[in-house]
């Protein structure tokens, strides 16, 4: 408490824009936050809501086709300084939904195709979540954990297998949702270039 000066600004130097690889058909809100030094790639028809945070300071971030990243979701949040990871990417497959306030930590983290990361859920560094999984709200996936395909994680870590076989239907519904969002969210990819 000897320091007299209190900085209001975030500690990371402002103005450092990460290199981006955007598809021309994505929708990204003006107030999304993209920071870091590694490349951020967003593939076709994905939607990034306002105030979503993509931080590539630790490693590259790849968002697949037709993903929806909701407001306040955080991709590539750095977990303190305890676990030093040299390469710390975050990869989202296609048709992934990252709900409001969910956090996916950096560190070779992979979210498989068609997975839903629920409201306020947290995926630890290096976790590998399989395809078509459902992480219900406030779920915590520990660092380095492997979640098999079609797993539903609910109620404080209970697990079961999703046998509905509704993946195809879900993807069609998501495509419709993206169509609507594209009209509603004013997109401004040029701002991040």
């Amino acid at each position: 408490m000897s320091s007299k000066r209190h900085s209001i600004l975030p500690p990371a130097p402002a103005g450092s824009k990460p290199p981006i690889h955007f598809s021309s058909s994505i929708t990204i809100a003006d107030s999304a936050l993209l920071t870091g030094t590694h490349p951020i790639a967003i593939h076709s028809e994905s939607v990034v809501h306002p105030r979503a945070r993509l931080d590539s300071l630790a490693g590259r971030i790849t968002v697949g086709r037709r993903c929806v990243v909701h407001e306040r979701a955080s991709l590539g949040a750095v977990v303190g300084t305890s676990g030093r990871i040299t390469e710390a990417a975050v990869t989202l497959g296609d048709y992934v939904i990252v709900e409001v306030g969910a956090a996916i930590e950096a560190g070779e983290t992979v979210i498989g195709e068609g997975t839903v990361v629920g409201v306020g859920a947290r995926v630890g560094a290096g976790a590998v979540v399989g395809k078509h999984c459902t992480l219900t709200p406030h779920t915590e996936i520990a660092a380095g954990e492997v979640v098999p395909d079609f797993t539903v994680v609910y109620s404080n870590g209970m697990r079961r297998t999703d046998k509905r076989g509704a993946a195809e239907l879900r993807n069609k519904g998501l495509a419709r949702q993206i169509d609507v969002l594209r009209r509603m969210i004013p997109s401004n990819p040029a701002k991040f270039a």
């Binding site: 107030s31 306040r72 306020g120 709200p137 519904g173 509603m184």
Partner: protein, 199 residues
Amino acid sequence: MSSRRPPRGEYIETDTGNKVARKATLVGTQNIMLGGKTVIQPEVMIRGDLIRTIQASSQSASGAAPNSTAVSIGRYCFLSRGCCLRPPGRLYKGAFTYMPLRIGDHVFVGAGSVVQAATVGSHVHIGAKVAVGEFAIIKDYVRILDGTVVPPNMVIPSFSIVAGQPARLIGEVPEGGHEAFELRDIYKTVGNNPQPAPS
């Protein structure tokens, strides 16, 4: 210390008595209706831009002006720091649409909660870190404890207390307990010239 105080008030106070923090994020403000005397704390996010895209058949037939309200909030509501209100969305007649989120009077939303309900009644207390799923219907005088996950489409009857992940009914609001839902006093304790809470 005086230099750290913001030169303008922290809140914007409207004629109808709403106190909206300057640091709140309101997207699509033209589609957000505030009933009056509502407190919106800093870092609150309200998604007014997610309006319904399909009008009800009775409305479109009569040719009335489309009602584009996305979020409507009643009187004396209190939205704590970091909470998020967003309209629920679903497939309806083969097309995707968002539906309006209606919130009654004297509704308290705790810090860090995410509300995607269809309807929240009056005198409802939602705790901190609660996730209310899409199209949940919460009736009047309901208390939702901290950390609850209300699943999508759940209907919570009046005078119930719910908790857990997923939410379960754990009790009822006791006789005469409904006075604790009044938010008039807490309304006075925030704003640009807050008054101490009456003891």
